[in-house]
């Protein structure tokens, strides 16, 4: 019997605390597999953020540091800047963490061309704290803090983080992918690999924005949630590569 698929060695052998059907788990697997395949698990340091993935330091089979809410890019910067160059440093952040409280940190990490990889899990909501509005929540989306649905007049417009960061010269590789079916999951894996390779080649800042689900707080079952990603999120957050060019000081 040939093994077609088995649990990645990049994941520790523990159950996660994620809700049934939450795609955080899929994204964990993709990161773990990539690090395993690149054979860099032993030289990787991951940074867990504050969100449902806060405990990811118990799941990844590599050194992990847990950062304050929103500050993972700063923590990753601190780690990356003081360790030998062969170390791989990544952050794993939710949309509340990265796009709300951590907006300053992510913009500046990108602008500095910080040679780290950011896995940005956009599920359009604050999962961990019970379903409040995120900067990425869609217009009309009902959340604990937008009970009537998000209104542009009072709650503003959702932020397309990938597009925004792509305007920065410091950002080298930025792609948005999704997890709503097998094909997209496989594409997501490719993007994540590309991002880590960007770092390995010392090309600077890389980020993969992964559209993800929160069945629990969306009030949908796992399958419906994937449909919601496809039908509601993808149109507002178009998939694709937003940046794939390293800035060369000499060029401009």
């Amino acid at each position: 019997m040939k093994v077609v698929f088995e649990r990645s060695k990049g994941l520790l052998n523990t159950e996660t605390h994620y809700c049934p059907g939450c795609t955080h788990g899929i994204i964990h697997r993709l990161v773990a597999e990539t690090l395993e395949e690149m054979d860099v698990l032993e030289q990787t340091i991951g940074v867990a953020s504050v969100g449902c993935s806060v405990l990811s330091y118990q799941y990844f089979n590599c050194d992990m540091t847990q950062a304050a809410h929103g500050r993972a890019p700063a923590v990753a910067t601190g780690i990356k800047r003081v360790l030998p160059k062969d170390r791989i440093v990544f952050t794993y952040q939710g949309d509340g963490d990265l796009a709300s409280i951590g907006m300053g940190e992510i913009v500046h990490a990108a602008a500095r061309g910080e040679n780290i990889t950011v896995i940005f899990v956009n599920n359009a909501i604050y999962g961990m704290t019970g379903g409040q509005m995120a900067p990425t929540s869609l217009l009309g989306q009902r959340t604990a803090t937008s009970p009537e649905g998000r209104q542009p007049q009072t709650q503003g417009l959702p932020i397309r983080v990938s597009e925004m960061l792509a305007t920065l010269d410091g950002a080298s590789y930025i792609e948005r992918v999704s997890t709503h079916d097998v094909a997209h999951v496989m594409k997501a894996k490719k993007a994540i690999r590309k991002a880590f390779l960007t770092q390995q080649e010392e090309k600077g800042f890389s980020m993969v924005e992964v559209l993800s689900t929160c069945p629990t707080n969306w009030g949908l079952n796992p399958e419906e949630s994937l449909q919601w990603v496809k039908q509601e999120m993808v149109p507002y957050y178009p998939l694709g590569v937003y940046k794939d060019r390293q800035y060369k000081g000499e060029e401009s």
């Binding site: 040939k2 994620y18 899929i26 079916d181 796992p222 399958e223």
Partner: protein
């Protein structure tokens, strides 16, 4: 012949494997595992094509997928 193995105790019964199995051979068992979930179970391993769609969509990396070695004589 076991083509897929489901680590039952890690399963959360989310049903995503069921939704994505082209062969429609997975279902939730009628019992609870130690975490109180109804775990996924395979109806007919023989129908499985080892496509791994279930495994790729499983958020909890619960499923392993195998494929019988191709008969070398046939292959050559």
């Amino acid at each position: 012949m076991m083509r897929i193995i489901i680590k039952e105790d890690y399963c959360k019964g989310c049903s995503l494997c069921i939704a994505f199995c082209p062969q429609e051979i997975i279902q939730l068992a009628n019992r609870l595992n130690r975490n109180g979930y109804r775990p996924a179970e395979v109806l007919d391993q023989n129908k499985c094509t080892s496509c791994a769609a279930c495994a790729r969509m499983c958020p909890d990396s619960v499923i392993s997928v195998f494929r019988p070695e191709k008969n070398k004589i046939k292959a050559s």
